[in-house]
């Protein structure tokens, strides 16, 4: 491996962050923990967008997609945490396994 940092390095970094986020989403029973895993996954996607934008000639499309992803992540966090707080008010817990009232 030479000293220069190439596209592969950024892609593999983002894949590792994605794996950790996916593990977090799969194993947490805490609803806020699941949301934090989703944030990690969105960050890894953003690293990919910016790496391809940088190594693809430096146009702005990738960066604009990253900005839209950040915007959607903010909206998702707001709605998700509002739902979590509403669940907490009703069930006094945010264990996703305990809130099974809607199970058919």
């Amino acid at each position: 491996m030479s000293g220069a940092i190439g596209l592969d390095h950024f892609l593999i970094l983002s894949l590792i962050v994605f794996a950790l986020g996916m593990f977090c989403v799969l194993t947490r029973r805490n609803a806020i923990g699941i949301l934090m895993g989703v944030e990690l996954i969105l960050n890894s996607a953003n690293i990919n967008y910016l790496a391809f934008a940088f190594y693809g000639g430096g146009r702005y499309d990738g960066q604009i997609f990253a900005i839209f992803v950040i915007m959607l992540a903010a909206a998702e966090a707001v709605i998700g945490l509002a739902v979590v707080l509403a669940i907490y008010q009703n069930f006094r817990t945010i264990d996703v396994g305990a809130t099974e009232s809607l199970r058919g």
Binding site: L13, L20, R29, N43, G58, I64, A74, A75, G97
Partner: protein, 165 residues
């Protein structure tokens, strides 16, 4: 060479913090480790010559989402009692799923020939992003404002204490 050192330092910061987020048993530690992960990603963005996106990440993620998450953690008591292992997906299937998915993708990344263009000279990106947002991306930009407005109203409606009969 300096770029490599900075990249590996930021990678260690990001991946180490993400490991704490994923593996810590205490949700409060996870929340604060998320700060390190976001800061590392900000550094990676700067390394990729995306100064405006790095600042947006800093403002929105660290200043907004992280503070909101800390608020939610602090507002829900007994949060540390929730067990880490999930009944629906056990620890072992989760590890197997994550490792297989990531292994396949790393294999794909390493065995694909990426066409790398000549790297553009590093320059401020705000001018180009502003022009693009108000030009080619005008419609998505406006739809984004609608999404944010509806998220705002929706969050207020969902989390409001209603006087139920």
């Amino acid at each position: 060479m300096l770029q490599a050192i900075v990249f590996y330092a930021l990678s260690v910061l990001t991946i180490g913090s993400a490991c704490i987020v994923a593996f810590s048993r205490n949700i409060v530690y996870s929340t604060f480790a998320l700060l390190g992960a976001f800061m590392g990603v900000v550094g990676i963005y700067v390394l990729l010559a995306a100064d405006f996106v790095a600042m947006v990440q800093l403002l929105v993620y660290v200043g907004g989402i992280l503070v909101l998450t800390i608020f939610a953690v602090m507002l829900t008591q007994g949060i540390g009692d929730v067990a880490i292992s999930n009944r629906a997906v056990g620890l072992v299937p989760a590890v197997v799923t994550a490792v297989i998915a990531t292994g396949v993708m790393i294999y794909a990344v390493l065995h694909t020939h990426w066409h790398v263009a000549a790297t553009a000279p590093i320059a401020p990106t705000t001018y180009g992003i502003g022009n693009a947002l108000l030009g080619r991306f005008m419609l998505p930009f406006e739809v984004a404002s609608l999404v944010l407005l509806s998220a705002l109203v929706g969050a207020v409606v969902i989390s409001r204490h209603e006087a139920r009969e």
